[in-house]
Symmetry: C2
Subunit: 732 residues, 2 copies
């Protein structure tokens, strides 16, 4: 069997590619954009996440995720049609073996450079890489690889015996993926996070070894200096001193073996999370000192917060550090233990990120790694609610970033995951746990996941709303209608089935057609900031659920995140601020240098380190512990987008009893800077059309904008970009 | 976020695994089966085929397939429940990093050996390999990795906070895949075909270089002896002397560059197909001599054929060699050029294989590589008919091998491919080319692929019959009914629409509801050996189509294969034998040492080398050129299975004018040996229940079996296994 491939004809022109003469004025001419490494969209993210998540170890044992891994395509085809006003010489770099066609003619040999004459051209590059992701980097004066290229995993470009080109419409071309690999020697497959040396803050002897304290929670590679001799070294890591000292039960450890041939300066292969490390060398091994390479993702701290309360400032700073430690190749849940990507945890990281780094790339990488590829065979992380957070995360991402391209490019993967979810509804049109599903919701004693759980239906309804919006962006108007109808129907059913006028709450579940007499906070608090309640319902829920001690308390910071948001959304900023002082302040009092997976003031001593029945099971640096970043930015500085990409936004500052606060909230247009005291509000926004809304006992004065009164001591001022607005008012 | 994994509990027993004392009688006890490397079914075949097919080059350019590549899973989980009467020590070998659980307890560190006490156990091994296929080899006295293990790509084995194990039924466990990697150091990822040295038959000077002739078509790695100096060497390969001498247009070449550091004995990295190679060293490079490493798959020649006609014997021998050259990691179409796996070509190789090597592994590897994984996005090789041959190939494989496990294990992949095909039918329930589909059928001038082509519907009907049989084997009784109904309906429609009483033929196509006045041989000859015709229809088709010179002739050996089979199926063995003498004998007359992709007696000289508009485009060693192997075995020696795995079979010898013939036909039970002259038939069969059927002018005599007369000079004798049956008769 044989096909005649368009590329077979031998192109003499290209075999002897003559280097062409460029008169200076041509070289001076404006170039095409910046060249970057490109790949099949999502494949690099999948590959990198496979690698990263497989780095988890448990006391020296390899411990990869329990859910399915996806694989990149080993063979992909890139193409671009373009026109050159001038001849161009492009340099060719690939990860993988390649076949190149220019205007349908195969370029023979494996050229490093290619001359392209002026005029209209089409270039096709087929790339094969079985071990890593096939990636391409072309760099010319005018032609470069960038996001204008297309790619497919199933090129059907051939011509049959008759010489007729086959119908190309059978091939699905997609927009390429890329990140920031903008130079030919920055190979995507060689990506590593940045590192910088850090040194011990304290060292003390332990038996024949030592305990090294790096002063605060950190993440990186232990490094030995002046290492010599043969034998082995045991390292016991600890986020706490107790953990590092407990060689039998610390969560992570390393056993090193040296035959004497090692370098005097020796750095470990694996990075670990720790503050302390106990080092026990065997006889015959000596070293002068131990340091580490701190490993981190380079991101900019765009967000900022300061206030008249030093404790809150410290809480914000430690939250930001906690967030940064967990913002790596992808958003992690915690750095010591899981080192996996969990959709539910990542969802909160997206939100915190918008008020700190505003790093869209980290959000996109994480969304793509979580979603994987076709076919969908199970929920994200095997957890029903985690599939649904993924949709809502895309909705938020669009709202904050305004990045419609992401939705356009990945809408088909949204559809297939939603098809999977919709296919798992019962005859009532609701989702309940099926074999292989994990209905998580939250860690809470005796929390029932049985039957139709109102919380899951609520997330599904919101996800369907996200699908309707995405369908419109992707130009699928039929889909838009379909998803909107499903969303409306489910919202209606949600209240019809679960809302109790008697209990003033959404009930927790229905089992075998019977609504159980069981109220939890989950659906009720989400319905508040999803704005699913009427005003009366909101007030009723606040009183009968949120502020009702007879309803089982939220104990995980994971759900605490939403509970505090719900309270803020109802104007309880002062109450929430006290909660923050107690809860996060409590961890600081215990010497926390990053925020924990869980904190219970009633516990004492080593109890704080236990979790999951393991003495050091608790993560002392957990992304969800950083939620004050989000709360301060959105509900105290009070900034949030009201249309995609902050084209319009609202500022509703709330001092909540503070004398003053100031801060920065990042947007796609640049920062919104705020200084707020009880007497004055100063705002400076780089872009977008903002509305500043606040209460004042006196009529506010503002030279740079008209003050509109909404009555009830509430006023509005339009914030025009690029001008400093100063408002004199009286908050009490 | 965090799961409590059953494996977390630290197992002291296993950490300090005590080596147990074995009394001699235990060691003497019978062991479990042989250990072999295991993997996720189909993944190794996909990975290996990706590698192999990416080795095609076109004048030094990389030339991978145009259809999609699939990828193996990077993370899989193996498990086995077992009971040990005695304690066991297992050695652990993996390709990839692993996590092992014995009875739910994690084995810490990365052990090379594991002690398992006597009793009931369950072992789970999670294996990660991003670069190659995750493969596992465990070797104990009793516990070994073999085909009794199961594997999944989406383990959902975890327990939640409540300590309750999740519902396991969410995880799909499948039977593992394996081949013959039966020792720990035989790493699947390192697989290479066997090689053996071969030496030049003739060498002659060409300018400053030489032309080396290896005496016959071969495949392998050129090797230089006594190589020294710096510079480069150009190699121009040729299946013909003309090709090797034509450096500008030969299909394959190598350019080597030496800096002087090379070894004196230097073997090329890539194997090529050739008989001749022109070698042109630059100044500064010398070598003593050139040889090669012949590269081949070790298979046994179970089939054999000899007759009173020396030409036919040579045709069989050269066919067998042609077949062997194309039977490699997978069944290739041709060795010089494509080096890809084509479903249509492979289908014929399966059939030839049953009469030569009877190597089931090669059939299974090829079927799995072709099918790939989910989701199905295009036809096999993008060709509609090639998807359908795949189903029919499985049907044949089951008939010849009786291997029901293969169907049981891969039935889901049959279903998903068939769903894809059924989803592409038009409202008439027929398949016609859609965007991205290639309707191939055959290379033939002006052959129309438009509209509903009868040939494609015929293949679909047969495929649906294969699905019905497979569904029953896989225990999908609903599916069995569904597919049988679809098959029956389509067969009916096929004749209703395409059969013409007037033309005595199945018409070629229907376009926009109009049956075109166009007859081709394809559907008509397939309908004969598919047994879709009535006896009258058969006779009519034979006269009005097969033996009608006004119907466009078949010119490719690809379709010639089926045309000759159809004629044999109608008793035209003598006619076919003359055709074979002309066609294959014609190639031998022209010095062929392997059979060609195409042969046209009307051509002369270098015309024989041309194809696809390229002077040496034609493959001179093409699998489909070996069809005499199949025809001689099935229609002259006359052996074919009548129930799966040769449980029952038929022998209908046909001398077709030969004085005598003898041969071997392999079956799962061993060989069937035959000696047939005009006066005597001798049969010896290793197993199965056979019927020998033949014509005789006199009443046959047989001491070892009862001769039953069927009338019309036709007789039958039951062939019981293991006894030599000799029948005296008179064929004329």
């Amino acid at each position: 069997m044989m096909m005649i491939i368009r590329s077979i004809t031998i192109s003499a022109i290209l075999l002897i590619s003559v280097s062409l003469f460029f008169p200076n004025e041509c070289l001076a001419q404006e170039k095409n954009g910046k060249a970057t490494w490109i790949w099949y969209p999502g494949d690099y993210e999948i590959w990198l996440s496979n690698k990263m998540q497989a780095r988890r170890t448990e006391r020296g044992a390899f411990l990869p995720p329990l859910w399915r891994y996806y694989s990149p395509y080993a063979l992909v085809t890139f193409k671009k049609d373009f026109e050159l006003e001038q001849p161009d010489e492009i340099s060719i770099f690939t990860e993988g073996d390649f076949k190149m066609q220019l205007d349908g003619e195969m370029v023979h040999g494996r050229p490093k450079k290619l001359q392209i004459p002026a005029g209209k051209h089409s270039i096709v590059v087929k790339l094969y890489n079985q071990e890593a992701v096939p990636t391409l980097f072309l760099n010319g004066e005018y032609l470069v690889t960038d996001n204008t290229w297309e790619v497919t995993f199933e090129d059907k470009e051939w011509i049959d015996e008759t010489g007729k080109a086959s119908d190309q419409s059978g091939t699905t071309w997609e927009a390429v993926g890329s990140w920031d690999f903008d130079s030919p020697d920055q190979l995507p497959s060689q990506f590593k996070l940045e590192t910088t040396p850090q040194f011990a803050k304290a060292v003390k002897e332990v038996e024949t070894g030592e305990l090294v304290d790096f002063g605060k929670e950190t993440f990186g590679y232990i490094r030995f200096h002046g290492l010599k001799g043969t034998g082995n070294i045991s390292l016991y890591y600890g986020e706490s001193e107790q953990e590092a000292m407990d060689s039998a039960f610390c969560e992570t450890l390393d056993e090193l073996d040296f035959d004497g041939s090692q370098d005097a300066e020796f750095t470990l292969e694996n990075s670990m999370a720790f503050r302390y490390v106990q080092i026990q060398p065997s006889e015959g091994i000596q070293y002068d000192s131990v340091s580490m390479l701190y490993e981190y993702l380079p991101v900019t701290y765009h967000g900022a917060f300061k206030s008249s309360d030093a404790l809150l400032n410290e809480i914000w700073d430690v939250s930001a550090y906690t967030m940064h430690l967990n913002t790596r190749e992808f958003f992690l849940d915690g750095i010591k233990r899981d080192r996996w990507i969990w959709s539910g945890d990542a969802y909160q990281s997206y939100l915190m990120n918008y008020y700190l780094f505003f790093d869209n790339e980290s959000v996109k990488r994480t969304l793509l790694a979580l979603r994987g590829k076709e076919p969908v065979a199970s929920h994200l992380n095997t957890i029903m609610d985690y599939s649904l957070y993924w949709f809502i995360g895309i909705y938020d991402y669009y709202l904050f970033s305004g990045d419609a391209d992401f939705i356009k490019n990945f809408y088909p993967r949204m559809v297939s995951l939603m098809d999977f979810c919709l296919g798992r509804r019962n005859e009532e049109g609701m989702m309940q746990g099926l074999p292989g599903d994990w209905v998580f919701i939250d860690w809470a004693d005796g929390l029932s996941k049985e039957g139709e759980v109102s919380f899951e239906q609520l997330l599904l309804a919101r996800s369907l709303e996200a699908m309707a919006i995405s369908a419109e962006i992707a130009g699928d108007l039929e889909g838009k209608g379909k998803y909107q109808n499903l969303a409306d129907g489910l919202r209606e059913k949600l209240f019809e089935v679960f809302w109790s006028d008697e209990k003033n709450a959404l009930m927790h579940q229905r089992v075998d057609g019977e609504v159980r007499d069981n109220i939890t906070r989950y659906a009720n608090m989400f319905a508040i900031f999803f704005d699913y309640f009427t005003e009366e319902q909101k007030k009723a829920v606040k009183e009968h659920v949120l502020l009702n001690d007879n309803i089982q308390k939220i104990t995980t910071p994971y759900m605490r995140f939403y509970e505090l948001e719900a309270l803020c959304a109802m104007g309880e900023q002062e109450f929430v601020l006290d909660e923050i002082r107690d809860y996060w302040g409590g961890m600081l009092d215990l010497g926390a240098t990053s925020f924990w997976e869980k904190y219970d003031p009633k516990e004492s001593g080593d109890e704080h380190l236990e979790m999951y029945g393991r003495p050091y099971g608790k993560s002392l640096c957990h992304a969800w512990g950083a939620s004050p970043i989000y709360l301060f930015g959105k509900y105290y500085l009070g900034v949030k987008p009201t249309s995609p990409g902050y084209e319009t936004y609202l500022i509703e500052p709330n001092l909540a009893g503070l004398e003053w606060m100031e801060g920065e909230v990042p947007t796609p247009h640049g920062n919104i800077s705020l200084k707020i005291s009880t007497k004055q509000i100063a705002v400076n926004a780089a872009g977008g059309n903002g509305i500043l809304q606040f209460k004042s006992k006196s009529k506010p004065k503002c030279k740079t904008g008209e003050v509109v009164s909404l009555g009830n001591n509430t006023y509005q001022i339009n914030i025009s970009p690029g001008t400093q607005h100063t408002v004199d008012y009286r908050s009490n």
